[in-house]
Amino acid sequence: MAGSSLQLKDHWQEQRLFLSRIIAAAVIVLLLCGLVVWRLVQLQIFDYEHFIELSQGNRFRIEPMPPTRGLIYDRNGLVIAENRPNWELVAIGEQINDLDRTLLSLEELGLVDPSEHQSLRDLIRSHRGFERVKLSNLTEEQAATFAVRRHLFSGVDIQEALSRYYPFGEMTAHAVGYVGSISTADLERIDRSNYAGTSHIGKTGVERAYEERLHGQVGYRQQVVNAQGRVLEAAGDGRIQALADSSGVEAKTPVPGSNVVLSLDIKLQLAAQEAMQDLRGAIVAIDPRNGDVLALVSTPAFDPNRFAAGLSRADYVSLSTDPDKPLYNRALAGTYPPGSTVKPFLALAALQTEAMTPDEERYCPGHFRLPGQTHRYRDWRPQGHGNVNMRGAIVQSCDVYFYHLAVAMGIDAMAVGLREFGFGAPVGLDISGENSGVVPSREWKAKQFTRKADQVWFPGETVITGIGQGYTLVTPVQLAHAGATFAARGQRFAPRLLIGTEDPVTREVRYMEPKALPSVGDQDPAHWQLVHDAMVGVTSDPRGSARAPMQGTTYSVAGKTGTAQVIGIAQGERYREEDIDERLRDHGLFVAFAPAEAPRLALGVVIENGGGGSRAAAPVARKVFDAFFAADNYVAREP
């Protein structure tokens, strides 16, 4: 093959062709070179005067003008996050001769936190020379201290700036989040030119989720600086103005960030926060008609203003190592065994799959045994509930009935039923940090465990899943969302904090449509009615588990209590609270909605280590409901 192609090769003809190509290439090379030279002549000869003026004597500096950050309102127009004027100390890297010495001197004056030395140095280095980098916030006194020594610090200046302020402090910390200094990690994920001149960025909550909307667009103007880098004011000096104009860079005014309107009702938020007192836990309140989150509380919380003002490293460490975990957003990320709060959801699923009929009774002797096994699955009431049907089992929270129900349904059907209500996956709240929780199934277990022996699903695990123990884990926001879904009889909305944006100039507010999710499959009104009635029974029936805390309400409440064991109790032993370390006590849960006949508010409440749901969680929910219906200033916000 090679031989035949060789014979076809005409070397002389080929060389001629190649030579002509080489000559053509050489001509093109010369032409392109000429083009470059022509461009250089243009810049270096014709426009020389222009550029030499730009580079020598007076020079330009582009000064970024940061946009004003958008405000955050609650649904009634109360300001939750605003901007307040204050003094801040800034550095301009290119004008500082010895960065370390400058920082040390500022630290001696008490203007900069010495523990921040390294990170500030890195921050200044990672910015471009002309950018102003914020070093710290100054009190009036500190500003005065610096003002008299200003001439000693080349490249350091004080400027008046707006800093973020949260008037409700820790009351809104977990829902609204906070802004903090832009870190080197933040610089990686933002459009740096849009943040030239901006010192803070949303770190958590709404501040982070809607950062782009809140931040706005940077502006800039051309400034003329002298040889020492000091700004020459253009105002009133025609020559400097003309010079600034000659640069070809037109000034651009910043576009302020949009104001955002949240679904939160700050009064309800405060009432919920107050109801929590010193307890650890979370409350999420959702409007079942549209998914609006009216309150979102996680306690303990922290003061977001400390982050906005600049938290010292030591303070941050003490916050992040606090055993009560104040920075942890329990409402979104906390996962808890749901305990008996899953019973209404499982009951509905059992009706739909016809694993149980409403009137079918089971006898409860106080315990349950799988056929052929000796292990006793206990009922919370040692003497048992006798014969119970579905309604009775929900009202009294009979465990044995639900052991039977679980076995009748099987684990995979239960998993399907729970997932329909949004358990086992983030429910789509519009701020980040949501945990998925766990809805166990055979498939889940096989994926979850690596050892073959651990991947097998045991019948006993089905049994305890029926009362919300075992692997099942839910977050408070999932609980509230599921409650809201139940209240709306299967109609689901993604929980949302943002309901509208306000144009900062025209003050025109545009509200958004709620985001509907796929409805729960069961469409039989009789099923819903039965479980609804049973949930009303929980708060009103003489044997109802939440009767005491809901006594005397002016509205009807449908709910379900739950108790999540933190430690396992051995066979034949009893749970005695006083013997148990406080952090190992049961979690109390409560899911509820009211008014039962036309629900307007759904709640998910989790109290950590507070004891059972009826004792710890339901009373807290009562206070929130009371506040909501007493004020009754609810205004629907629709597009």
């Binding site: 250089l40 020598q56 471009r128």
Partner: protein, 376 residues
């Protein structure tokens, strides 16, 4: 096959043109290379504000490059041709490995990566792609047929797309330029060129669609640098001031205000041309350009003198690709072209590109040094 071994046999029997002590070097090439690198070091000294550590590292890179040059020059193009497919496959394999491992440097890291010599497989492809195209055409009749063009298109586009995915559009375009120049030198007709040219234009919208945001921003900024003075436009505005204010004679060595007051970004790498423009003026730049032209001219001469298709195509393509580097860098720094992050060859501080370039020139020296004395 038989003809090739015949040529080799004659060359081996003492026909090779050897330099001193039997080592194959190309004296004119080496002289010009030394002149450019020396001039580059002088500029670099100013650009890095006399940071000798950086200069020593640059000198060491040149040393490594020189070693590569000499080693490569000793090996006859005959052997290089045999090695070519393996080199090409190795390069593709490494590119795939990089893609799989996900150890991809971000666009910005290429600039920050001062002095740390990290091997980039894409550098190997800068040589391997033109070599592979030349290898493919070596025993075939020129000009190539349509089917052969398609094969070479694959040879060029496969690595180019892998590199563009990294994402490193600048290097991808340079690799494509290397391959495309080989194909052009192989003698495709003007008509085919026009067809492919218009096809190329038609793919521009597709290219635009797959471009990353920062790459689009560079094009926008190129069209109107003043529109983004805080971002990408900053570089080009400052660069133009540096060049323009240099004038005919320049401000003098170490006297560039733009570069020394740190207005000019990437002074030691992509924008070193502007530093030179500011300090040595138009005359200095013309000297540099003349040296570059001399280098390209010598390369084209070697190509014209070369005795087989592989050597001819390779020598021509390497020389012209080198000119493309110069043109793209000078063009982007002076605002003729968008900023694509191509260093000024042999002058910009930076690891692998210096070694790759010297290796390429080593190949030229090999081609020229191993000719047989008498024409066939």
């Amino acid at each position: 096959m038989s003809l090739a071994s015949l040529e080799w046999g004659r060359a081996a029997s003492g026909g090779r043109k050897r330099g001193f002590k039997g080592i194959v070097v190309d004296v004119p090439l080496l002289v010009i290379l030394f002149a450019i690198v020396a001039l580059g070091m002088v500029v670099l000294y100013s650009a890095v504000s006399a940071d000798t550590g950086l200069l020593v590292r640059q000198g060491m890179r040149f040393g490594v490059g020189l070693a590569a040059f000499i080693v490569i020059a000793q090996i006859s193009p005959h052997y290089w041709r045999i090695l070519t497919p393996w080199l090409y496959l190795l390069g593709i394999g490494l590119l795939l490995a990089v893609a799989v491992e996900g150890q991809i440097g971000k666009g910005a890291q290429r600039w920050l990566d001062l002095g740390v010599v990290t091997f980039q497989p894409s550098e190997l492809l800068k040589l391997a792609v033109p070599m592979m195209c030349a290898w493919f055409m070596h025993e075939r009749r020129l000009p190539p047929t349509f089917a052969q063009l398609m094969v070479m298109g694959l040879i060029v586009l496969t690595p180019a797309l892998l590199i563009a995915e990294q994402p490193d559009l600048g290097t991808a375009l340079l690799v494509m330029a290397g391959g495309a120049l080989t194909i052009l030198l192989a003698g495709i007709s003007v008509r085919v060129m026009l067809v492919f040219g218009s096809l190329g234009l038609a793919t521009l919208p597709v290219l635009w669609a797959v471009m990353r945001d920062y790459q689009k921003a560079r094009v926008f900024t190129f069209l109107n640098p003043e529109s983004d003075p805080l971002g990408t436009g900053y570089n080009i505005i400052q660069s133009k001031i540096a060049i323009g204010s240099g004038g005919l004679f320049g401000k003098g060595w170490l006297n560039g205000t733009q570069s020394h007051l740190e207005f000019l970004p990437e002074r030691s790498t992509d924008f070193i041309f502007a530093v030179m423009a500011e300090e040595f003026g138009l005359l200095g730049l013309c000297l540099l350009l003349v040296l570059y032209l001399a280098l390209v001219g010598r390369g084209l001469y070697i190509a014209a003198e070369a005795q087989d298709t592989f050597s001819r195509l390779l020598a021509g393509a390497l020389s012209l690709t080198f000119f493309v580097y110069v043109f793209v860098n000078a063009g982007m720094v002076s605002g003729l072209l968008p900023i694509v992050g191509v260093p000024l060859p042999l002058v910009s501080a930076g690891g692998t590109s210096m070694v790759t370039l010297m290796a390429g020139f080593g190949m030229l020296a090999s081609i020229h040094g191993h000719r047989k004395l008498l024409a066939a």
